[in-house]
């Protein structure tokens, strides 16, 4: 119950931060692009709308996850509102988890509204039957999972670092998270056993964002753009990875936050 109260409060705070203005930007982008890109491209009108829609969903979502995530804890400390909250019978891990769930809910609303916007654009401008649009849902879900992991990482940095540094760290980890496959490749060709161990450890330590970008060696957004089905089991494994990674990162964040001295 306390968890829901903190999460609800975080959500309301995000709304007050006018975070949903990006939805208007998204809607404008979709409408203008469907007009303009149809003129610029040769064929592939549906594909261009879907690629642009899903990629914007991911980029906007990642930016929100990073720039709101890094302030979640820092702002409470800065404004000293955290003292009032922690004076009540609220465990510190509840505070962290509540903050996380609040931002996650904000992102969920964002993604849901953007998906509806994308569907409307396709219904108005696209050429596929409406049931084909359901094939976009796995890609939307995986984008949401990647946002969940990014938010957890941003929140972790937020517990011990300044917003500017946290933003940099999270952004770098997000970029590195797309190149994790290269790390394992490096481990294979590394001549020293120590280097191999280090790269292997890093491979599992760093967030593997590419898990949510491609399933079965096929880019998720591309599959959606061609209305191709994806394997449910592959989505299941990606979900399990996201749950485990977020749990580990949030536990670490809660542990760091619990040890902080607020005198």
């Amino acid at each position: 119950m306390r968890l829901i109260a903190i999460a609800g409060n975080t959500f309301r705070e995000n709304i007050r931060d006018k975070i949903l203005y990006n939805l208007i930007l998204f809607a404008l982008l979709m409408i203008v692009s469907s007009f303009l890109l149809g003129q610029l491209t040769l064929g592939f009108e549906d594909k261009v709308i879907i690629d642009l829609g899903l990629s914007s969903m991911s980029v906007f979502g990642t930016l929100i996850a990073i720039f709101i995530g890094i302030q979640l804890v820092y702002k409470e400390l800065e404004r000293r509102t955290v003292y009032a909250l922690l004076a009540k019978p609220v465990a510190r891990w509840e505070f962290i988890l509540g903050k996380y769930l609040g931002l996650l809910f904000t992102l969920l609303v964002n993604v849901a509204v953007m998906t509806a916007g994308l569907w409307l654009t396709l219904a108005w401008h696209g050429s596929a039957p409406w049931h084909a649009y359901l094939r976009l849902l796995p890609a939307v879900y995986l984008i949401f999972l990647s946002l969940a992991v990014t938010t957890a990482v941003a929140l972790l940095f937020s517990t011990f670092s300044t917003p500017a540094l946290s933003a940099l760290f999270t952004l770098f980890l997000w970029i590195i998270g797309h190149f994790n496959a290269d790390l394992i490749q490096f481990a294979k060709i590394a001549r020293s056993a120590a280097a191999e161990t280090v790269t292997r450890v890093l491979y599992y330590l760093l967030p593997n964002i590419s898990n949510f970008c491609s399933l079965d060696s096929r880019n998720v957004i591309q599959s959606a753009a061609y209305y191709e089905p994806v394997r449910a089991a592959a989505v299941g494994w990606a979900t399990l990875y996201a749950v485990l990674y977020c749990a580990a990162v949030l536990a670490l964040a809660a542990a760091i936050f619990s040890r902080r001295d607020f005198k």
């Binding site: 890109l37 491209t41 040769l42 592939f44 594909k47 970029i175 591309q222």
Partner: protein, 315 residues
């Protein structure tokens, strides 16, 4: 004495805004004028390695493929810019390579791209070998799609005049499930190298009927109309030569050929505009008023066609 307030403070913010906003456009024009000067290498491709672009795409491969495809279209479509370059479409193959590496699913890129690459300059890049390489990559990515080996045969046949390779490619296409039954006959005719122009006409007709894309249909329509124009003009020339040989002079108008029994009617070009006739030298040509976008055949078929007419009509 009054203490002087800096004049800038008296300006209201709205005034500063209006002044700045008014100046932006002329300043931008001045900057653009500098950009318009020819640079050392205007035809620059920042990333030539498709693998590198794919790695930098950060999972947004599809969107980047769309952007590169639009860039390839703009690159191909800006004829005036291409004409100024030493090699008009130097980077077209590389751009198409990047698009198909980022998203191998874009079948129309292989299809339309192979035409862009094959068409001789100034219409295209004049690089049919690159078109075959592009289609080979497409065939490897989509072995179940008969249209790609069909297009490969088309490039071999029309642009490279390698009838045997064309026949082989069509034979491969005809064996793919779902391929239309006429492909096998086409392969056979290509391989036997007989009736070259007839096969070509059949090919363009098939393209006109089966191509899903409006621009490919338009190209096929232009090609067929151009062949029709060539054949009309050569037939008229042939009849005029025979008329002159029999009567010592060319007829005053093309109707003279009907009166002499050479033809039943005077043909018009495929857009319905009459051909121009010069009775002093007996030459016929396409009128300036024609709506046909004439594209010359890549090889001289005139003598072979006239020899065929002579065989048909008797010496």
């Amino acid at each position: 004495m009054k203490t002087g307030i800096p004049w800038i403070r008296r300006l209201p913010p709205a005034g500063i805004f209006a002044l700045a906003a008014l100046l932006i456009a002329p300043v931008q024009t001045r900057v653009d004028a500098g950009l318009a000067r020819p640079s050392m290498d205007p035809d620059l491709l920042y990333f030539s390695s498709p693998a590198m672009v794919k790695a930098l795409a950060l999972g947004y491969d599809g969107l980047l493929a769309d952007i590169y495809w639009m860039r390839a279209i703009q690159y191909y479509g800006r004829r005036d810019e291409a004409r100024r370059r030493q090699v008009p479409y130097k980077n077209l193959a590389a751009l198409l390579d990047i698009v198909t590496t980022l998203d191998p699913g874009m079948i129309d890129v292989y299809r339309a791209g192979s035409i862009f690459l094959s068409e001789p300059e100034p219409v295209g890049a004049g690089l049919p070998q690159k078109a075959v390489a592009l289609l080979d990559r497409g065939i490897a990515a989509h072995p179940q799609d008969w249209r790609l080996p069909f297009d490969k045969g088309f490039v071999h046949y029309w642009y490279m005049r390698d009838y045997e390779q064309a026949g082989r490619a069509w034979l491969l296409a005809s064996r793919i499930a779902g391929a239309p039954p006429w492909l096998e006959a086409l392969a056979a005719r290509g391989l036997s190298q007989g009736g070259a122009i007839e096969v070509a006409k059949e090919l363009w007709r098939r393209q006109l009927e089966s191509a899903g894309r409006a621009d490919l249909r338009e190209n096929a329509r232009n090609r067929l109309a151009s062949i029709q124009v060539d054949e009309d003009l050569w037939t008229l020339e042939f009849c005029l030569e025979r008329y002159a040989a029999a009567r010592g002079a060319f007829p005053a108008s093309l109707d003279g050929l009907i009166a002499a029994g050479f033809i039943h009617f005077v043909p018009k070009d495929p857009s319905g505009v009459p051909y121009l006739y010069d009775p002093s030298i007996g030459a016929v040509s396409l009128s300036a008023a024609t709506k046909v976008r004439y594209i010359a055949l890549p090889y001289n078929y005139r003598d072979a066609y006239k020899a065929k007419l002579a065989r048909l009509l008797g010496k």
